[in-house]
């Protein structure tokens, strides 16, 4: 599976994703400059964390209108998958590839801390190696991660099982104190209707080695790789 890690001016977890994909997972990966529109070489594109263009207007707003992002719908239509983490999630929402918006954390402060995530949908290419209800531990690092959508959108998200991860307690309960940013309905990550674009605020690349305190983030990659190795079905969907 060929990965591409997109680099915007101001991106910083590009190197971290690149490292995990190549050094931990031993998969082919290369960087994709934000002006690139030819994505034919890739099976999976990663939109990493950081502060694209400084995020001075709204997080992800400027990157959401960049050439590489405008090429994403085609890429997905051809069978590619997209994983946006942190700033990547914000960019996907700004680009309308995912519904809703990410607003300032309710505490009005940046938060870098460990969180627990409950797997809500194990049927996506990103979560096939997981069990519904399984609890993962992954760090967050953001100032604007509070997911918001209007009531109808939220209902559609639920009806179509697009909510993939919710913040929870260590034992899997949904609770206000386990929601680090005030996210609507505890949402930490969601997919598009086809399940081929995942946006999540937590950082799977920071939970990919024991030395970093855990490897739950790898499960997302194993899901992607496993589904490809087994039958590649989601790519042909």
């Amino acid at each position: 599976m060929k990965f591409g890690v997109v680099v915007f001016p101001g991106t910083w977890s590009d190197c971290d994703f690149h490292y995990v994909i190549s050094e931990v997972l031993h998969q082919p990966v290369s960087y994709v400059w934000h002006r690139e529109t030819n994505l034919a070489d890739f099976d999976c594109l990663v939109l990493p964390g950081g502060f694209s263009y400084g995020d001075y207007l709204r997080a992800g707003a400027v990157a959401g209108r960049s050439p590489v992002v405008e090429a994403l719908p085609d890429f997905v239509a051809r069978g590619g998958v997209v994983l946006g983490s942190c700033n990547g999630f914000q960019i996907l929402c700004e680009a309308k590839l995912l519904p809703g918006a990410l607003m300032r954390n309710e505490c009005l402060q940046y938060r870098c801390q460990s969180t627990y995530l409950r797997v809500e949908n194990a049927e996506t290419p990103f979560t096939r190696a997981l069990r519904p209800g399984q609890v993962l531990r992954m760090p967050i690092s953001h100032g604007e991660g509070k997911f918001y959508a209007d009531w109808e959108t939220l209902r559609a998200l639920k009806d179509k099982h697009q909510i993939v991860f919710r913040y929870c307690t260590e034992d899997g309960r949904l609770a206000k104190e386990a929601n680090p940013n005030g996210s609507l309905d505890h949402i930490a990550g969601l997919v598009n209707e086809d399940g081929t674009v995942l946006g999540m605020m937590p950082h799977p690349e920071r939970a990919a080695e024991n030395a970093m305190g855990g490897t739950d983030g790898l499960l997302i990659f194993h899901s992607l790789l496993g589904s490809l190795v087994e039958d590649g079905s989601f790519l042909k969907r």
Partner: protein, 82 residues
């Protein structure tokens, strides 16, 4: 041509920052503040367009970048003397 764009959270969306400023103001004795909402003011200066054309371009800018329609509304005010 000068214009001013005001970008605000949609009514009904909780303005956490506004609420926290309201609390801080109350703490300073400004208890008469019933409501406070915080948005952005964007002051624009455009090259060589008449008012109507500029207005249209600014609406486009708002729709494409300056505001996020999921959470924000915008209003455009042209400024006197422009």
């Amino acid at each position: 041509m000068k214009a001013r764009v005001l970008v605000r959270l949609k009514p009904g969306i909780l303005d956490v920052q506004g609420a926290s400023v309201k609390r801080a103001l109350a703490g300073l004795g400004f208890t008469e503040v019933r409501d406070i909402r915080i948005g952005k003011v964007i002051d624009l200066e455009l090259d060589g367009l008449d008012a109507a054309a500029a207005r249209q371009r600014i609406d486009e800018m708002c729709a494409r970048l300056l505001a996020n329609p999921v959470i924000e509304d915008f209003t455009v005010e042209s400024l006197p003397g422009s």
